[in-house]
């Protein structure tokens, strides 16, 4: 079977014209392309970093606010500088990019510019034809992030073809086995976030990342984020578009489509997570797709240190709570959007529900959309504190 093409789309810095790219994104995913959408008002650095981490074959830039010649050229240059010139750059800007401009841009290394009047079908065909070939592997040494990104792709594509890869990283840290969390993999602490769609998982993670980065200027974080897709179909991987703090050189983020697997994760999640956990990050954060009552994304894996269930106060009747099995398994339950009217009721109902479990589960109210929210601060402290206790335990054991 053919593997989905992965591309990144974005709108340049100081440009909020996102209606064209929104339409194009939808057309791409309808044609089996996995689109990582970075959003609007994005800098050259953000775009190139994301493209490398996501290991896309091409970057599509939709520019309507001028300055495109320089902006596109800067993207091409930075890709080259980072050793990622195999990632192609294409784009458009309606009537704002003239034919002369496009000629200049092509000379500067831009692959293709689409003009006003180009049909969506033409664009899709172009992408499928030109960015669908397997990458010619380069032999020369790669930077760590490119290497990591390529390995993640290998795992993902390998599984899609029915092969499970045993990758080098696993061998190099041979003592550590995957699958049993009690033996820590690397030094990374793995935190799993799950919960229904629209509960605010992505925003919450982004706010936590801000705190991680601020707390320690050397801290490095990996994020593995999931969005749903059907086997052989495209997907819109859009978590990056709303993340403002996670566009940072100390954050490595990878967006994965579930490619048909139920339960909120991808077939490759487990192995990718294991690889990330060994790759010198302090924290590895994993976000599932929005899950329903039945999903138990982290049950089998056992490689997650801490499970956070993010709830929306609007979960329906109290009886619904009984059906949410994740409530039994989560270490921390977060009621996000606690500024909503329903939140107080939600808090007390969930509190009662957790008491039945007689486990040391924590319940925290947050308003993740609020800057410096004290609830998010508490959650952050809890995660950090938990780390100390875990490391303490690990030391005691050894």
């Amino acid at each position: 079977m053919t593997l989905p093409i992965r591309i990144l789309t974005a709108v340049p810095i100081c440009d909020g014209h996102d209606s064209a790219i929104n339409t194009i994104n939808l057309e791409f995913i309808r044609h089996g392309i996995e689109v990582i959408y970075l959003g609007y008002h994005r800098s050259v650095g953000d775009i190139v970093r994301a493209a490398i981490q996501e290991d896309v074959r091409a970057i599509g830039i939709s520019s309507y606010n001028g300055g495109h010649i320089e902006f596109f050229a800067e993207v091409v240059d930075l890709l080259r500088k980072r050793g990622a010139s195999d990632i192609k750059v294409f784009g458009g800007g309606g009537g704002t990019i003239t034919h002369d401009d496009a000629a200049t841009m092509r000379r500067k290394g831009v692959d293709q510019i689409f003009f006003a009047g180009t049909s969506l079908a033409e664009m899709t065909d172009y992408v499928r034809k030109n960015y669908g070939m397997p990458r010619k592997t380069q032999s020369r040494t790669k930077s760590w992030d490119i290497e990591l990104a390529w390995k993640l792709t290998e795992i993902e594509d390998g599984l899609a073809k029915g092969k499970r890869l045993t990758f080098n990283a696993q061998r190099s840290t041979s003592k550590k086995t995957i699958g049993n969390r009690q033996s820590a993999i690397g030094n990374a602490k793995v935190i799993g976030f799950t919960g229904p769609g629209g509960a605010g998982k992505t925003t919450l993670i982004d706010e936590l990342v801000l705190r991680f980065l601020k707390q320690n200027p050397r801290r490095r974080i990996a994020i593995l984020s999931h969005d749903p897709s059907v086997v052989g179909e495209g997907a819109l991987l859009g978590d990056r578009a709303t993340m403002i703090n996670s566009q940072n050189d100390r954050v490595f983020m990878r967006s994965m489509a579930t490619r048909g697997q139920a339960g909120g994760l991808s077939p490759a999640t487990h192995d990718c997570l294991a690889l990330l956990a060994q790759s010198n990050f302090d924290y590895v954060i994993i976000e599932t797709v929005g899950t329903g009552q039945e999903a138990l994304p982290f049950q089998k894996n056992g490689i997650v240190d801490l499970t956070v269930l993010v709830m929306n106060p609007d979960y329906g009747s109290r009886l619904q709570l009984q059906k949410i099995v994740m409530l039994d398994l989560a270490d921390i339950v977060v009621v996000n959007k606690s500024d909503l009217q329903r939140a107080r009721t939600a808090h007390s109902e969930i509190e009662q529900r957790l008491e039945q479990n007689r486990r040391d589960q924590r319940l925290i109210d947050t308003v993740a959309k609020r800057h410096r929210d004290s609830g998010v601060d508490r959650l952050f402290e809890l995660i950090c504190r938990d780390e100390r206790s875990r490391r303490g335990k690990a030391r005691n054991k050894s």
Binding site: I13, G66, G95, D100, T242, R372
Partner: protein, 578 residues
């Protein structure tokens, strides 16, 4: 019930009141006679003008006698003219000063001195100087010209402003305190900072006595940014707070300034239907009014300082869109907010639709714009901007700007359509039918927003955003399947797509570098003072006080980007909605 619900109720009540009065006029002979006498009085007082061919025409056309009761009742407490016909027309023609040219031309390119030169060119033959300023991308997003990846965008699509020194250069040679001068600044996200820069720059030139004399407007419309234009830099609530800080200052210190231009234009341009445009704009306006009132600013202080900015395209709704908006605003402000007569006025700037202009056979854009201008003036807009035909490609070039401006002059000065009788085309049965349909549809939108918990809640829910996106999608679909004919594009297509010969207004690299160098010099010169000013600003914001006075101090020594960064440190950044 929220304020918006009260507005809906007020409009419904008003309509019932009108109907009841008409009934009464028919049955109550005395009342009917009274109305007829009033009609006769008004007619007698209406001045008569003469066309160049000698035809006498009244300045104000009154409806026929038997319709008059309806008409007069409709005017109610809202002044002498029919409610839909316009906020502030100086119609009497004898005495008073002649009305200002409603022409307002949007301009902004390259560096401040280049835009300044363009401003002088544009206004060389105009009695009144009404400058409308476009800013470049970095300025609109509150970042400096030395930020990562913005070099090519310096001076593109608008003027680059980093510091007060740029602002001084921008309006150099204009008498900012003159009653014949007004400045309009199209910027929202960092509006309070840019406003502070403008005031500080004016003070440098003319001393602090100029402040109460300053005339003009700044867009500062946060809601529409979040709904449509994506140029928001602080979280919504923080943005609204800084806006209110600014409004509190200007309503107190600058009685002639319009501190917000409640804009439907960008909502329309982002793809909304005309009804959505009017409904979201008006409801945003009512939400701002509620917010300012909550801060303790009296409604009769801020009410008269609110102004509106609408898009005018070619759809049939535009025949009456602004007329209906004017009516709803007046009734809502009177009945739900308790505003006096001045606070009920709907002051409107209109711009012809940029979205309706296309690249293919672009000279047709002249005709499109002319038709839109006609619609705008049928709606008695207070001022108007006509787009240049070359806008699908670039910041307008001088040749096409001139044609756009002349389009207005031809319509207003050369033709007799709006020259003699000010309400020449109002009140036709067709127009009335559009008014009724549009009003009902707008009230439905209000009810929906009300159901979602009001404007702020709906905005945070992305309601308006997704509605606009859906409408945009439908519009594209209609062009694609031909149900929406676009001449030269999907109909009567000429076949060949020749790139037009257009002189592009690109900013040379040399100028962009100059801007970066100037900024570096400014930052170096003020480094120490900047730190102190920013610390002070941050502390005030942290304490939750009105920060506008601190902004006025900060702009003297800090760049736009430095101030934005400082504020974002305290209140956070805007998280994009997608």
């Amino acid at each position: 019930m929220s304020k918006l619900g009260q507005v809906v109720e007020a409009v419904e009540k008003y309509n019932q009141f009108v109907l009841a009065q008409v009934k009464r006029a028919r049955s109550d002979e005395k009342f009917g006679r009274e109305l007829i006498n009033r009609w006769n009085d008004t007619k007698a007082k209406t001045p008569v003008t003469h066309t160049p061919t000698g035809l006498p025409l009244p300045r104000l056309a009154l409806p026929e006698m038997y319709l008059e009761p309806v008409r007069k009742i409709e005017t109610g407490n809202y002044g002498k003219k029919t409610l839909a016909d316009g906020a502030k027309q100086k119609a009497d023609g004898n005495g008073a000063r002649p009305p200002e040219e409603p022409t307002r031309l949007f301009s902004g390119l390259m560096l401040a001195e280049d835009t300044n030169e363009r401003f002088h060119y544009l206004t060389q033959h105009q009695r009144t100087h009404r400058l409308s300023t476009a800013f470049d991308g970095p300025t609109l997003y509150g970042i400096d010209s030395d930020a990562d990846g913005v070099f090519g965008k310096i001076g593109e699509g608008g003027v680059a402003i980093d510091t007060i020194e740029d602002m001084v250069r921008l309006y150099d040679g204009f008498d900012l305190g003159s009653p014949n001068f007004s400045a309009s600044m199209t910027i929202s996200g960092p509006a309070p900072i840019i406003m502070a820069m403008y005031i500080a720059a004016a003070k440098r030139h003319f001393g602090s006595k100029v402040v109460p004399k300053l005339r003009g407007t700044i867009q500062a419309d946060i809601f529409k940014e979040v709904q449509a234009q994506n140029e928001t830099i602080f979280p919504i609530e923080a943005s609204l707070r800084f806006l209110t800080d600014m409004v509190e200052f200007t309503t107190r210190e600058m009685p002639r300034w319009y501190p917000i231009s409640i804009s439907g234009y960008h909502i329309g341009e982002a793809g909304s239907t005309p009804v959505q445009q009017a409904a979201y704009t008006l409801s945003n306006g009512f939400a701002y009014a509620e917010m300012f009132a909550a801060r303790g600013i009296p409604v009769d202080q801020f009410g008269p300082r609110l102004s509106f900015f609408l898009d005018c395209g070619l759809d049939a709704e535009y025949i009456a869109l602004a007329r209906v908006s004017r009516r709803i605003w007046a009734i809502g402000m009177r009945d739900a907010y308790g505003a006096g007569p001045r606070g009920q006025l709907f002051k409107l700037h209109t711009q012809t639709s940029g979205r309706s202009l296309i690249a293919a056979e672009f000279k047709n854009n002249l005709t499109r714009t002319a038709a839109e201008l006609m619609l705008a003036y049928m709606n008695a807009t207070n001022s108007c901007h006509s787009n240049s035909a070359d806008e699908p490609f670039t910041t307008p070039s001088e040749e096409w700007i001139r044609l756009a401006a002349h389009g207005q002059a031809i319509l207003l000065e050369e033709s007799g359509i709006f020259k003699h009788t000010m309400n020449m085309l109002s009140g036709s049965p067709g127009m009335k039918a559009v008014e009724c349909a549009v009003e009902a549809a707008i009230l439905d939108e209000f009810r929906e927003i009300e159901r979602l918990g009001g404007v702020l809640a709906a905005v945070e829910d992305r309601f308006q955003r997704s509605q606009i996106q859906n409408a945009a999608h439908r519009y594209e679909q209609q062009i694609y399947d031909g149900t929406r004919p676009i001449i030269g594009l999907n109909k009567y297509r000429n076949g060949e797509d020749v790139a037009p010969e257009i002189k592009l207004a690109r900013t040379p690299r040399k100028k962009q570098q100059l801007q970066v160098d100037r900024l570096a010099k400014f930052k170096k010169k003020n480094a120490e003072k900047a730190t102190r000013a920013l610390d002070k600003l941050a502390a005030i914001v942290e304490r939750g006080e009105n920060c506008f006075a601190a902004l006025l101090e900060a702009v003297e020594v800090c760049s736009l980007g430095q101030i934005t960064g400082c504020l974002q440190e305290v209140v956070g950044r805007f998280r994009p909605m997608v």
